[in-house]
Amino acid sequence: MAATKSSFSRNISSTPLVQNPSLKQGSNGTVFVSSGIPDLDKILGGGFPLGSIVMVMEDAEAPHHMLLLRNFMSQGLVHNQPLFYASPSREPRAFLGTLPSPISSKDNKGLDSDSEQEKGLRIAWQYKKYFGEHQQNFENHKGNKQEYCNDFDLRKPLERQLLSKQRIDCVSTQDSPNLTHFRDRCSTFLAQLRRNDDGVACVGRIAIQSFCAPQCGYSDMEWEVLSFIRSLKSMIQSSNAVAIITFPPSVLSPSFSKRWQHLADTLLSVKAIPDEDKELAKLLTGYQDMIGLLHVHKVARINTQVPVILEATTYSIKLQKRKSLVLERLNQAPVDGSSGSSYAKSASCSGSSKGGSLDF
């Protein structure tokens, strides 16, 4: 995915600089943590790099950003990582009860065998879907004790004991009057995660939900909020942590929204798709299963100047078996429902259009 791969790039697997299974060694001295969504990790080339800020632009019509947040937080808790969560609700701790639980490997096998059953019939125009399959299966079999990235069952809440096992800081952004207090909370949280030379011992996750939304205490302090994000970024850069901030761009002025986007290392946006859009349903396959769209605007570029060019930037968010979150590239549907007749139909189409042009 990276634009250039030199012919003698170092074999990373031979030097396991990172023993912790919850971390992954990336290129250019970066270390990845998982986003909690296996597909998103794959798209971003490994996950979210430590010391980066991830921003998710919300859609006012649908709470899809919550899916990303939940998986991100759950994954951290499963890996025993301290968590800092801020939200504009009165009782942020209540949100922890909605975090999804990882699917145990037993369930996973069932999932795999299902996909094997599907293997029998493949349709050529969807072949891209099956590219990463081998690799994925391999990863599933390999990681028995602790996996880098779990699949999460959105219907099952996370076990209570995981919530009490490690440090979780919750802050409500609604009632805190100014940002200095909030900043202090963040810096005390990050103080324990200072980066030092002898490897990565402990990794923290910061999740800030709907920052600068109208119900936030400081939605009218645009410059102060920017300054806060900037100082958060500089704190994160020197510690072993990742911050994910979701914000509604529509409530910010365009100029400020751009400033926010520039501050992000990784920039994503989520979009709802309208329920009964006949036009779109005709264009895309699997439209009924889609719950939204994820757009990748920017991929973190730490210690490098080379931009990451993705094969696709828009992915559909789907719920597999109503429980686990998958991201798929958009597949254009054939002109007609059954592929057999679509040839005939397209042929007749071009024929008729020719005829039409003659008529005119």
């Binding site: 250039t4 030199s6 900037r230 751009k258 400033r259 210690n303 931009p307």
Partner: protein
């Protein structure tokens, strides 16, 4: 791309081929969310530090920590000649391997010999070495927040303090070495300085004017990076217009209309205000070309000319 003289389209557009020494100028790099223009800055860091061993660079970093630039510059430096590939990985991590450079394979003794020869070039842009040699002054301003108190004049105070630091450094280096030193001040980036100044762009502009005066007195140059798309929605005189006015060269990094591609990472528009054409009248010269960013350098080419 003219590889023999180590000039590329970007250098040509800057007018670097005309004079060995860089005349006093102000460069402004503009970019947007989709296409980062930071690579131009890295290119200019490399240039400023490898300029006959006499250039002094003062870098005001508001966006990234030192390690980020250091790492990038280390990789950029391995671009000796045109087609060498990035050998960084080998140099740092494995001395026991067989070395392959530019398609040739040779063994460790030969490679280490080669490394020693090449080291002369490489140390030229190792930022740590340069910092120790007092050729690079790196001001880490990641945590710069000017209005710590509540009073208005604190914003000014913070920037005045920063300027004081810059002035002192510049004067010290101008005194200590011979006068052929050419000083470059780089600021990455202005939009973050505005955030640090709590949105008071007037103070930031004042600051820039001070820096501009300082560099033009000493015959140095001022390089700044800003994001164009931030101001695109605001009407009236925006800070970027002021900056464009004082700039001699404006470099704009934009994505292609069709989006990013693996072979073309975007396009650069370089407006050089100071080039004199044959008839003796100064004229703006605009160049537009595509680029592809790599670890060890950037490829520039005119649309359609890439083989």
């Amino acid at each position: 791309m003219d590889r023999s003289s180590n000039l590329n389209l970007l250098d040509e557009a800057f007018g670097f081929e005309n004079q060995a020494r860089v005349s006093p100028r102000v460069l402004l790099i503009e970019d947007c969310v989709e296409t980062s223009g930071a690579f131009v800055l890295h290119h200019l860091i490399k240039r400023a530090l490898s300029l006959d061993g006499s250039g002094v660079l003062l870098f005001v970093a508001l966006a990234q920590p030192f390690s980020h630039y250091e790492r990038i510059l280390r990789k950029l430096m391995y671009n000796i000649g045109g087609n060498s590939k990035s050998v960084e990985q080998n140099v740092i991590h494995s001395y026991s391997m067989v070395y392959r450079v530019g398609g040739f394979t040779f063994s460790y003794p030969l490679a280490s010999e080669l490394l020693m020869v090449l080291d002369v070039h490489w140390s030229g842009c190792n930022l740590v070495t340069q910092r120790d040699n007092n050729r690079l002054f790196f001001l880490d301003m990641l945590k710069l927040v000017c209005p710590d108190g509540d009073e208005k004049h604190n914003i000014e105070g913070g920037l005045v303090e920063l300027y004081g630091k810059i002035q002192k450094t510049v004067e010290v280096s101008a005194l200590s070495e011979d006068s052929r030193n050419c000083i470059t001040i780089m600021i990455d980036d202005i939009s973050l300085m505005e955030v640090a100044a709590n949105g008071s762009s007037n103070h930031v502009l004042d600051f820039l004017h001070y820096c501009y005066t300082l560099t033009s007195e000493l015959g140095g140059s001022l390089v700044t990076l800003n994001h164009e798309d931030i101001y695109s929605s605001t009407l009236g005189p925006t800070p970027i217009l002021h900056m464009e006015y004082i700039a001699d060269i404006i470099i704009k990094a934009e994505p292609l209309a069709t989006g990013l591609a693996t072979d073309v990472h975007g396009q650069l528009t370089v407006v050089n205000k100071g080039i004199i054409v044959e008839h003796g009248s100064p004229r703006n010269r605009i160049r537009n070309f595509h680029f592809k960013v790599k670890e060890n350098g950037i490829e520039y080419f005119y649309p359609g000319s890439q083989t």
